[in-house]
């Protein structure tokens, strides 16, 4: 590049006061390759930009250097101006002589010298700039939503209502998630099923939503706009196309004593079952681990042991030999909404940072239950028909102690984070208990009450004032069996007194953790996660629902503990991001990405190891006959974000980051 124009801006007095702009312009004019060098009061003003456009045409410039403010301020402005004059925008660069020079120095001679140096860096660098054009990536305008809880449902409906197709994958046999297990919801105490069920039905009936229940994501390939997702449809042992959900099979299944997952182990289900009556889709699933027929098969019994369900099924929908099947879907964006699980306080834990709670009996005391179990006890459709009864003997508890922060805010045994929802649902539980057992006494041990949210603090106050819950600030050191009751040893830190309570039942507000298997899913998606497995958002404040992998979004409690309103808001936010992405057929992005020199790449794949985005792929170089010559690296344009870590790592310098190539940096350093 030999026809460079240099434009030095005074920025009014901002630069001119300390930097002798005319002198800088003159010195730059003497550099080899510079054919035009001027200074001007305000380069960014319309006349200033006109000056650049005119010079490009007049002097047939093939490079423009603007010595002015920070490129973060005006790089776009000047590149646009250059483009308007017919110059490739990437042949225009800025040297920062304001923030990095005139504003931070006082001595005019020193500042002028430094300004010369800074502009010279860029003049030398731009000699090696090449014209670049923006990259266009086709977008497959369909979305995948992983997880059919309230967040996934909301996201799927919003996108589908926005006119785009959605594939909703749910690993359980029905959508609905944890919300379907709740009795009432805070802070309004409206029935959870009543508000959720219509939305579930809407999903099932929506023409643009393809619901894949009892399915899991097997693998994910590709990048933003062009993901290819392999989905495993687990064998239900039911021909979905034939089943009409009549329920005869369930009714006739002889094994009726299997602890129900939906009822949190407080109720029973059959081996072939629908998790709850409002399930969507309303198709049963056969639990092969508990089915007599499959147990018999496993033992090698020749004769078919059972098969009642198949006998009673009028539509012959039962298929004992069904296998897992796989389908592949092409989508342009993925929303992860896999939700949460509760911290189990037992002795065996899958993570090194969790230790369980031996002082609470490691979960072996029958009337010590967790929050979700209490939800089922309080639910009108629950195992007790909405009566609060003790799991051990079915008696009505007259005194319930609620313990908050079990596993939350506890570095020793659980997680340091706050699970956010427990303060609220414990308050709700005390109210539900008060409504159902008028003479019952609810006692809550808390660390702090965190009731930030619309109507939230008022709700907690109602629990205390109207439902007469006794709130004690302090921790409980042990739960022990004391005859028929549970001895709760704790401390009330406000009075400073140790407290000993014999409770009929204890409810633990255990911590919210991400779903098991989240890390393996995150690895499939190349999404980062924190120490606890919660998925990382791209920016905690400004990009809360995006991930660092373009085209993948997060909603709900898979990202951090979230309540229903938060999850729904996040879900709608992801939907709006996805619809925005889908508003164009192509995705346009800056071309500042890495490219590989196929000639010299040796295929050591150091670049692959350091790439934060998994943008490096393997490319087979073949001769004309199709014989493999070598395997080398190739950069996926859609995935590369342009950090350049690969280039610094490449031993033979066979990968270059456009915009910051080795030649450009070398030229700048040489200008020292």
């Amino acid at each position: 590049m030999s026809r460079i124009g240099v434009f030095i801006c005074h920025c009014g007095e901002n630069i001119g006061r300390t930097v002798d702009c005319a002198q800088v312009a003159q010195a730059m004019g003497e550099l080899p390759g510079v054919v035009h060098s001027v200074d001007y009061k305000y380069m960014c003003s319309d006349p200033g930009q006109a000056l650049i456009k005119q010079a490009i045409k007049e002097h047939n410039l093939d490079g423009v250097v603007v010595g002015a403010c920070s490129p973060h301020m005006h790089e776009k402005t000047f590149r646009k101006a250059a483009a308007a004059a017919g110059l490739n925008p990437y042949l225009c660069e800025m040297a920062n002589i304001r923030e990095h020079c005139s504003w931070i120095h006082e001595d005019r001679a020193e500042a002028t010298e430094k300004a010369k140096g800074l502009v010279r860096f860029i003049v030398e660098k731009i000699k090696y700039n090449r014209p670049l054009s923006n990259i266009f990536i086709p977008v497959n305008r369909r979305a995948l939503v992983i997880g059919g809880g309230i967040a996934g449902i909301q996201a799927a409906l919003d996108i589908a209502d926005g006119g785009r197709e959605v594939i909703l994958v749910e690993k359980e046999s029905s959508i609905g998630g944890h919300m379907s297990q709740l009795s009432e919801t805070f802070p309004t105490l409206d029935c959870s099923q009543c508000i959720l069920t219509p939305r579930m039905v809407e999903v099932a009936q929506h023409p643009r939503i393809k619901l894949l229940a009892y399915s899991e994501v097997e693998s994910v390939d590709g990048y933003i706009g062009n993901f290819e997702v392999k989905i495993r449809q687990k064998a239900r042992s039911i021909d979905v196309s034939k089943c009409n959900g009549c329920g005869e099979c369930t009714k006739n299944c002889p094994n009726k004593k299997i602890p129900s997952e939906f009822e949190q182990g407080l109720g029973f289900r059959t081996a072939i079952y629908v998790p709850f009556p409002q399930a969507v889709p309303n198709i049963p699933v056969l639990d092969r681990d508990n089915c007599a027929l499959f147990k018999g098969r496993a033992k090698g019994v020749k004769k078919q042991v059972c098969g009642k369900c198949a006998t009673v099924c009028g539509r012959r929908a039962i298929d004992f030999d069904q296998q897992d099947s796989f389908i592949t879907e092409k989508v342009g964006a993925i929303i992860v909404a896999t939700g949460y699980q509760l911290y189990w306080i037992g002795k065996e834990q899958e993570s090194e940072i969790l230790h369980g709670y031996g002082e609470y009996g490691y979960g072996t005391i029958p009337d010590v239950i967790d929050g979700l179990q209490f939800e089922r006890l309080a639910s009108a459709s629950g195992p007790t028909g909405g009566k609060i009864l003790r799991p051990s003997d079915g008696k009505e508890p007259k005194k319930i102690v609620f313990l908050q922060c079990i596993g939350s805010r506890d570095r020793a045994k659980g997680m340091e984070y706050c699970s956010k929802i427990c303060c609220m649902y414990v308050a709700k539980h005390t109210m539900l208990y008060h409504h159902k057992v008028h003479d019952g006494k609810a006692i809550v041990f808390y660390m702090d009450i965190r009731a930030g949210g619309k109507g939230y603090d008022e709700f907690v106050r109602r629990a205390i004032e109207e439902s007469h819950a006794l709130y004690l600030r302090g921790r409980v050191s042990s739960l022990t069996r004391n005859g028929d009751t549970i001895r709760v040893q704790g401390v009330d830190t406000l009075s400073g007194e140790p407290v000993s309570i014999d409770a009929d039942m204890v409810v633990l507000a255990t911590a919210m953790r991400p779903q098991p298997g989240i890390t393996s899913l995150a690895q499939k998606l190349s999404v980062s996660y924190d120490l606890h497995g919660f998925l990382n958002e791209a920016h905690p404040k400004l990009r809360p629902v995006e991930t660092n992998t373009a085209g993948i979004f997060v909603a709900g409690a898979c990202q951090a503990p979230r309540d229903i309103p938060d999850s729904v808001a996040m879900a709608s936010a992801t939907a709006s991001k996805v619809l925005g992405l889908f508003s164009n057929e192509q995705l346009e992005r800056e071309p500042l990405i890495a490219r590989v020199d196929r000639q010299t790449c040796t295929g050591c794949f150091h670049c692959e190891r350091v790439c934060p985005y998994g943008a490096v792929e393997r490319f087979e170089v073949k001769d004309r006959k199709g014989n493999l010559i070598k395997v080398i690296a190739e950069v996926n344009q859609g995935v590369c974000q342009g950090c350049g870590t690969c280039q610094a790592t490449c031993p033979s310098k066979s990968i270059e980051l456009d915009g910051f190539t080795d030649e450009q940096i070398f030229a700048a350093v040489n200008a020292l």
Binding site: G358, Y362, R481, N482
Partner: protein, 303 residues
């Protein structure tokens, strides 16, 4: 696990109480050791472990005192040191932990002692030592204990803090249970196995010790235990020596014999109760001994 191996040699740190108030603990240990092929080599010139005065007043001293013993053990070419007293065990293990994990303290202590640390020493509690030998205990248990129900009491120091002890579960330990099971007794499930006995407040704040002991003994009795098994001289003292006061305050006249775990193991081996020091207890063990048809002891009534 060292089960089934030939003779095991460990360093032996009796501490002050095994030569004084808990003589029966040492007697029983020395009585069962030969049967278990266990060689206890006393550390020459050992000094006080420092509990509890040292660690409540001066951290450096609390490391230096037991560290001296550890240096001596290394000089005696011992890899492991057994401290029968739970407090001694805890101090020695804490000192070893500090030496390994806190370089600053380690170098300060080295200059105090004027000696450098040799190889790291494994510090063993009685629970650790005997749970390594459950097979031997089982094979030597010739006297049927007849489904004897016992409550195993750990107290606060035997398995805690977990980062120092690195043995058993700090909240729901089972090592003593596995030992008594090997000896032929039946451990009961009870709640107070880890509660505080009052420790050194036995003399200064007797009322507190009586209150704490009351809840421990009540829970043990309620669980159907016929004897309480302990592994610490201080626990033993509080629950045996103070038991008359405890029972009186509770209006309960059922005495509960309190045995060191080594005594129970000794009984299962058919050793003479007097050799095991059972005659030294304040609670008369005779009714209990009769239930398992062990020998007789002459009991002196408490004044």
């Amino acid at each position: 696990m060292r089960n089934g191996e030939a003779a095991m040699k460990v360093g032996y740190f009796p501490g002050c109480s095994l030569h004084a108030t808990a003589r029966e603990y040492e007697e029983s240990l020395k009585a069962i050791a030969p049967a278990l092929d266990l060689q206890l080599e006393e550390i020459r010139d050992w000094a006080c472990c420092g509990a509890t005065s040292a660690h409540s007043t001066n951290h450096l001293l609390s490391v230096a005192l037991p560290a001296r013993t550890l240096v001596l053990a290394a000089r005696q070419n011992l890899d492991r040191v057994f401290a029968p007293c739970a407090a001694c065990y805890n101090r020695l293990a804490s000192a070893q932990h500090a030496i390994e994990h806190d370089k600053k303290v380690a170098s300060q202590v080295e200059s105090i002692l004027g000696a450098s640390f040799g190889h790291p020493i494994g510090v063993l509690s009685i629970a650790q030592l005997l749970s390594e030998m459950t097979d031997r205990i089982r094979s030597k248990a010739i006297v049927p204990l007849k489904e004897l129900k016992v409550a195993c009491y750990y107290g606060c120091l035997l398995v805690r803090p977990p980062e120092i002890c690195r043995f058993d579960d700090p909240e729901a330990p089972t090592s003593l249970e596995s030992i008594v099971t090997a000896a032929g007794a039946v451990p009961v499930k009870w709640d107070k196995a880890l509660e505080c006995c009052g420790g050194g407040f036995s003399l200064s704040r007797t009322a507190s010790v009586v209150r704490l002991g009351r809840s421990i003994l009540r829970s043990a009795k309620d669980s159907g235990a016929q004897a309480l098994i302990v592994a610490c001289p201080m626990c033993h003292s509080n629950l045996d020596f103070r038991q008359r006061a405890i029972n009186r305050s509770a209006g309960d006249d059922r005495p509960m014999p309190v045995l060191f775990i080594s005594q129970l193991v000794g009984l299962s081996m058919g050793l003479d109760p007097v050799r095991l020091g059972l005659n030294r207890h304040f609670v008369n063990p005779q009714p209990f001994l009769s239930t398992i048809s062990a020998g007789r002891v002459e009991h002196r009534e408490q004044a």
